[in-house]
Symmetry: C2
Subunit: 346 residues, 2 copies
């Protein structure tokens, strides 16, 4: 498929406005340096020709692509899709393009470096906690301030700019909610640890349990992978327990939903037999049955602020130290948690 060849260039505009290409360029980038009359002539010519800048030429000359790369761990995920949406909106507003990628298979250090070297992207937005952040440092050379913002649910390398939520405290508040309903026997469905750092939601769970002087039983910590499927597995494991907790804190909503689906198959009812609190507040949480109590993550804000931060860094708004933004999760009480009743104590 050949491109049409009548796309107007800056030369065409210059010719029509009776000025040099340099002047057109200046009108576009620093209009105050051009005489108003000339400026107007050029503006008219731009409109008349329908000129749009050739980004390849500009990128080549300026060594900047005005594009950011977003790395998500599988875009097909209810949680990240909203975030991505916010990123696209913010980036577009600032005149940046958004490239997406999710190649988790290959060695990330290689292809990420390629994106930089190839002048395809100026900065990176990482929503994927499974990337080895220690290797990210090598990507932008020795610059201690990478044009990179990490935004995922584990505390990343403190050297990296980050936008996250108060996972640890949120986990504590989730447990506190269950405790306030009278629950003492509390389990947890935990996601994998990422980046060799401890899973913050699990840590928060343990801390809250300790603070409330409650016992953490190893068999009540059910391993998961942040997927519905793993939630289902956890639900079956739960149903098979001889001695079950009366409440469960799930590391995210997807696992909570899988869990609820599985225990129902095993004849258990939520919240009668077990209260369940999730994490994230994905769209379906409020329309699930039972409607899911959860710690809402401000997903739109995460995406928007992450994009904003990255672009600020790229545009040299002076940054001296890594930026860390922490957003607050909000407890949303719905129907999947209920006061402890005699029957549940079983």
């Amino acid at each position: 498929m050949k491109r049409q060849n009548n796309i107007p260039t800056i030369q065409d505009v210059a010719q029509r406005a009776q000025v040099s290409a340099a002047t057109v360029s200046r009108v576009l980038s620093t209009p105050e340096r051009v005489l108003p009359a000339t400026r107007q002539r050029v503006a008219d010519a731009v409109k008349a020709t329908g000129f749009t800048i050739n980004v390849a030429a500009r990128s080549l000359r300026m060594q900047r692509a005005r594009t950011i790369l977003v790395v998500v761990p599988g875009i097909g995920n209810a949680y990240y899709s909203t975030i991505l949406d916010a990123v696209v909106n913010e980036a577009t507003r600032r005149g940046y393009g958004v490239l997406v990628n999710s190649r988790l298979d290959d060695d990330p250090a290689t292809w990420l470096a390629d994106y930089f070297h190839s002048n395809r992207t100026d900065g990176l937005l990482i929503f994927d906690g499974f990337l080895d952040t220690r290797r990210l440092h090598s990507i932008a050379g020795d610059d201690p301030l990478l044009p990179l913002v990490a935004a995922y649910d584990e505390l990343p390398d403190p050297q990296l700019n980050s936008v996250l939520t108060d996972n640890l405290q949120a986990a504590e508040r989730a447990v506190a909610h269950l405790v306030s309903l009278g629950h003492r026997r509390i389990g947890h469905i935990c996601g994998q640890s990422r980046n060799a750092s401890p899973n913050e939601r699990l840590v928060g769970f343990r801390k809250a349990m300790f603070d409330h002087r409650l016992e953490v039983r190893p068999e009540w910590i059910l391993p998961g992978e942040y997927t519905m499927r793993s939630g289902v597995a956890a639900g079956h494991a739960f149903a098979a327990l001889a001695d079950r907790p009366t409440a469960v804190f799930a590391g995210n909503d997807e696992m909570a939903i899988g869990f609820l689906s599985a225990i129902r198959q095993n004849g258990l009812d939520c919240p009668r037999d077990v209260s369940v609190i999730g994490f994230d507040d994905i769209d379906v949480a409020q329309n699930y049955f039972p409607a899911l109590t959860t710690m809402r993550q401000p997903r739109e804000a995460i995406g928007r602020i992450a994009a904003e931060t990255l672009i600020n860094i790229l545009e040299d708004r002076v940054v001296k130290a890594p930026i860390h933004v922490v957003l607050t999760s909000e407890l949303i009480v719905r129907d999947s948690t209920a006061p402890l009743t005699r029957s549940a104590v079983g």
Copy 2:
């Protein structure tokens, strides 16, 4: 944030391999035109320098960006996220970057044309049926074969390349499933019509009802917008009906879920009081309660094939007429549909 300036260029490689830049370029694009010995020297130099091509320079020279633009109607959507995932995988495999956008607010003809003119993208993948396709023609000039593939759930302009599923027949099969369970009083939650073309799922519904000699009652056609929220509204409207259908075919799973959530609040039970069949088979469908009967859309295939088709067109695999790929939806029977019982007849 300044870029590091020691990124190796093709000149650096050439110098190291003792050849000209032209030869390096040939080794990279048409190796068979270079003497094996030279080819090897160059390959070694590429490896040694860590050369990656500067895409801005290549795009400028070749007038091709090796990038495609994906337009989705709100990325924050369970349905499209899987498709986008497949697109990214396929495009990456073929060496293409993927830009995303979802600006539905502005006049699409304007900013889409900008993407083309600015040499930012070579082709378009449209998953957004709300774009006015008549205006898309103007984008790539007079070329009757736009570098554009439309993939959304309404039959688009036959002049456009498209990848879709058999919506109409699938809707008929959905109704047939309900009929086979004994239902005669069947309602429909329909999404908006797009592109001024009739909503295919609604048309399929009507056709199936006609073929089965069943009455289509206007008050049983509940308007929706393909969102959970609109499904909730439909559910409340349904509950308020004096004379209710015994089964409902929802235009997509999100509306079905909203619907189920709402009727439950109104004391109605699915499938006891009403059978519900959805459309799409989004991830949560199987873990919803009741598990949702639905027409599965091959989302991964839609995304992959759409990307494949677009890139084939871009790379001049001869295309003489618009390409139309139609994929088949599959009936997935779960728990939200059940045989008609006396109680439901009410």
